[in-house]
């Protein structure tokens, strides 16, 4: 379709390349959206049906009260981590290669947190009373129990969600302004005008926005770290074998960064392929992302081994029975697959530059890593509950189709929100790309060749 000529927005090719998905919708988009909507809808109907029927439709039974739902919760909170990491840490570190990836990563954070935040509700026995946990003044004189990690969870996740939502929106405002000026249909024009908040690109506006982004980056980082630490405390604060350990905080945060980085790479590869943005997201960027992933993989493995070694060497009878079912019992294959995916295959493969720069190898590897990370969450939640406490209460756990549907639900929901976002905002930060190109340009002054802009 015909776009308006560029007015004041500089490089027309970048603008058109990146704005294209906003204005052009192919049948493939509709097919993907329809598929995701079906999965999301089916999951939602299952949830509503479960609300009416009761929790007995799941595979949960005493004492295994936390199963796939909680594994899903931890998994999706974990996935949300790397969006903030890439964006905030790299922004603060002034790592310029982050530029084409930040928007996709920040959007990933928001949508994965949205999916994760539903799971505590899904698994509540009385979902309709969920607000009892929220501390607010009410006529029933009720107040949440601040000694419970679940109450911290609620606050941490809501803070993280609102923080990352602002952190996603703020740097998108100048891009919304570009989209506004390029939009042709009145509906789009109106929508982007609203989203652009009257952005005109004055010097003052740029200054204030950069300051706000900087402050938000500093503020959102500790929140990001604390969210998953608090999720780990849901387990570590309980007096249950293999949960009650101080290593869980850093272990969860690293696991979260690891799985989140894997999802960022998966999405980056897919976006690059789907929108033909090979000029903007190059193997150089994939290499950098994969290096972070490699570091996370090594650190995660180190902490996993640390946890395992102490449990194994300690030989507490309560912990040993759980270690035994992971090492040779019902959870042997889960643990083996997890170790294969997260350590044995991932680390040697990521060590090669050839793998790190090859999109399709990375796609396979990162999906495999996330399968492993899901299993890791499952292995944390379930085996402990299966064999904790007096031996006459030991049992087994097998999920039913309800848990399966509720695992498809967040995947479908996440992809659905993500592809909707493709139509809502430029998926690569246009102004940041342009800023980078300007900064990268060289000027000749006499005989010297200098960079056009020297970073502060």
């Amino acid at each position: 379709m015909k776009l308006h000529p560029p007015l004041v927005h500089g490089d027309d090719k970048i603008n058109r390349d990146i704005l294209r998905p906003l204005f052009e919708t192919s049948w493939r988009w509709w097919a993907l959206f329809g598929l995701c909507l079906t999965g999301f809808g089916a999951g939602f109907v299952t949830w509503m049906w479960m609300l009416g029927a009761g929790m007995w439709v799941t595979g949960l039974h005493r004492p295994v009260m936390w199963g796939v739902f909680i594994a899903n919760f931890v998994f999706w909170v974990g996935l949300s981590h790397s969006g903030t990491l890439i964006s905030a840490i790299l922004r603060l570190a002034k790592a310029d290669w982050r530029r084409p990836i930040t928007r996709a990563a920040e959007a990933m954070t928001v949508f994965t947190v949205l999916m994760a935040a539903q799971f505590p509700l899904i698994h509540l026995g009385r979902t309709w009373f969920f607000y009892y946990i929220i501390p607010y003044v009410n006529q029933r004189e009720m107040w949440g129990n601040f000694r419970s990690p679940l109450a911290w969870d609620l606050m941490a996740i809501l803070t993280y969600l609102s923080g990352s939502l602002i952190y996603l929106y703020l740097p998108t405002v100048p891009d919304f302004a570009i989209a506004r000026d390029y939009a042709t249909t009145p509906v789009r024009k109106k929508l982007f005008t609203m989203l652009a908040l009257g952005w005109r690109g004055t010097r003052k506006e740029w200054h204030r926005m950069n300051l706000a982004i900087l402050m938000l980056a500093v503020l959102v980082l500790p929140v990001a770290v604390s969210v998953h630490t608090i999720v780990s405390w849901d387990f570590a604060m309980a007096l249950a074998p293999q949960w009650h350990t101080t290593i869980f905080g850093p272990y969860f945060v690293l696991g979260a960064i690891y799985s989140g980085m894997a999802l960022v790479v998966t999405l980056t590869v897919l976006i690059r392929w789907a929108f033909k943005w090979e000029d903007y997201i190059t193997p150089f960027h994939l290499d950098k992302l994969s290096k972070i992933m490699l570091v996370a993989a090594i650190l995660w493995t180190y902490l996993w081994c640390g946890d395992y070694l102490i449990t194994w060497y300690g030989r507490l009878p309560e912990e040993k029975v759980i270690l035994d079912i992971k090492n040779g019992g019902a959870y042997f294959w889960h643990q083996l697959t997890m170790m294969l995916a997260n350590t044995i295959v991932a680390i040697p493969m990521l060590a090669f530059k050839k793998v790190r720069t090859s999109p399709w190898a990375l796609l396979f590897l990162t999906v495999f890593i996330n399968v492993g990370m899901w299993l890791e969450r499952y292995l944390i939640a379930v085996p402990t509950l299966v064999q904790k406490g007096p031996a006459y209460t030991w049992t087994t756990y097998s999920p039913t189709w309800v848990e399966l549907m509720m695992s498809i639900y967040p995947f479908a929901g996440f992809v659905m929100l993500y592809v909707l976002f493709v139509k809502m905002a430029p998926f690569i930060s246009i102004w940041e790309i342009r800023e980078d190109r300007v900064a990268e340009a060289y000027k000749t002054m006499g005989q010297a060749k200098l960079r056009a802009i020297v970073a502060e």
Binding site: G54, M55, W56, L60, R62, P63, M65, W66, P120, H123, L124, G125, R126, T127, F129, F130, Y132, I133, M142, W143, G144, N145, R147, S148, P149, L150, A151, L154, D234, M237, A238, L239, A240, W243, L385, K388, G389, P390, T393
Partner: protein
């Protein structure tokens, strides 16, 4: 450790009480419970009794709704009633005045319920025995349920 605080904390050894109306069913207490003695209400209570069968329900005990975690209350309604009676009559509770439903109905008289802080109560004399033990004592949860194992007194 319930997030919506249906559980009433206390510093001295006492019954872990729960306010069922406040329970939102996170099922977290089951994870925290080293004894696995919580029970989840998977179903709504069947209350469609034909009159006068509804009279079999205990008027002193609330019917817990579906989705609530519950545990043994040590028949707290009986304790409250006896305590209120004693207070009205301006006297102290006597040993044996209160017993739990399980102790009352046990044909082998296995269970004794009473005041541990009173050294002369029936339960205190029973657990003075060397055969006494508590479950998972190493965890430091200070349970108030004592058991007597086999062997010589």
């Amino acid at each position: 450790m319930r997030p919506a605080s249906p559980c009433v904390p206390s510093s001295r050894p006492t019954i872990r009480r729960k306010v069922y109306n406040r329970c939102i069913g996170t099922q977290y207490c089951q994870n925290n419970d080293p004894y696995n003695v919580r029970f989840f209400n998977w179903f709504e209570a069947a209350l469609n009794f034909v009159e006068p069968l509804a009279n079999q329900l205990n008027p002193d005990v609330t019917v817990r709704s579906r989705g609530v975690m519950e545990k043994c209350t040590f028949c707290v309604h009986r304790i409250r009633e006896a305590a209120a009676d004693a207070k009205a009559e301006e006297r102290l509770l006597e040993d044996g005045e209160i017993t739990t439903a399980c102790a009352q109905s046990c044909s082998a008289n296995v269970i004794t319920f009473g005041n541990l802080l009173d050294p002369h109560s029936k339960v205190s004399t029973a657990i003075a025995s060397a055969r006494r033990f508590r479950l998972l004592e190493a965890l430091g949860t200070e349970p108030v349920v004592y058991y007597l194992k086999g062997g010589q007194a």
